[in-house]
């Protein structure tokens, strides 16, 4: 596909965040443009002119992209896909949490120097910070990437981080772990701030 055509399609689809629907539209529009260009070639236009005329005939990207976004919003599968992305973010957070836990077990708890890590409030704070970073970062990066073209990205990323926070705290309470109030509010605040600022 010529570069000009690819750039034109990118501009038309700039507001469609969902890759599956974007791919579908790109294929159909690409085929339509090829048919249009073929028609102009048959009428004696040279290749460059035929492609330009085909793009003109299809419409202005500034107008089309709003229509394509609205069409995407009507897709019945959209909510399921968004939810899947969110849950994937939670799964990655869980993996990150486990890795951080392994790290703490190996490098902190196992070391004589940090034997009393959970007894000392300073080290407890650090250990909880490592766990928080371990679960938040993979989830944040995943959600930022998956919702990068979405106008509601901020809401999704923040919702994902708060969901991860809630799951983490629920698991902690269910397994009988103690949860100091400052840590409870500090991690909730951090999740909200990170979600709102970074997205």
């Amino acid at each position: 596909m010529p570069d000009g055509l690819r750039a034109y399609l990118e501009r038309c689809l700039a507001l469609v965040p969902e890759s599956a629907y974007r791919l579908r539209l790109r294929q159909e529009l690409g085929e339509h443009l090829a048919d249009l260009a073929e028609g102009y070639l048959a009428r004696g236009y040279d290749e460059g002119e035929a492609i330009l005329r085909a793009m003109e005939k299809l419409g202005r990207p500034e107008q089309l992209r709003e229509q394509y976004r609205e069409a995407w919003l009507r897709q019945p599968e959209r909510w399921r896909r968004d939810l899947e992305r969110l849950l994937m973010g939670c799964f990655l957070a869980l993996l990150g949490h486990l890795l951080a836990l392994l790290f703490l077990e190996h490098f902190v708890s196992g070391s004589r120097r940090f034997l009393k890590v959970y007894g000392d409030p300073r080290w407890r704070f650090l250990a909880e910070g490592v766990l928080f970073a371990g679960e938040t970062l993979p989830c944040l990066i995943w959600l930022l990437l998956r919702f990068r073209r979405d106008r509601t990205r901020r809401a999704w990323v923040t919702a994902g981080l708060v969901l991860v926070w809630a799951l983490d705290k629920a698991m902690l309470l269910l397994t009988g772990g103690d949860l100091p109030l400052p840590y409870f509010f500090a991690t909730l605040g951090a999740s909200l701030v990170i979600g709102l600022v970074f997205s």
Binding site: C12, R24, L25, Q27, E28, L29, E31, H32, A34, D35, L36, K57, L58, G59, Q63, L64, Q67, Y68, E70, A71, R74, Q75, P76
Partner: protein, 114 residues
Amino acid sequence: MRVDKELSKGSHELILLKLLSRGDKYGYQIIQEMALLSDHAFEMSQGSLYPFLHKLETKGLLTAYREEVGGRSRVLYHLTEKGRKALAEKEKKWRDFVGAVESVLRGQAECRTD
């Protein structure tokens, strides 16, 4: 002759369903047939066609599938049973509407001649 945009907008769904009732078609084919059969009176904005088709697909009036046509892979649209029923209903409503407008226009013409 081109039909007023606002007038033709409301009839796009009926026209698309009617064209697809005569056989499965891909987007470009639909645009071509629409222009040809209406003597270019109905020329839908080409880029707007696909969101429109997808909307009808979401409503369950059409289904889409990929098939090779003329050596090229194409997305073809097929009218479903629900689409056929919707078409019959829309055709009837359209004829009623046109009939009503016609009677008003004829009445107006008669009034003028009186």
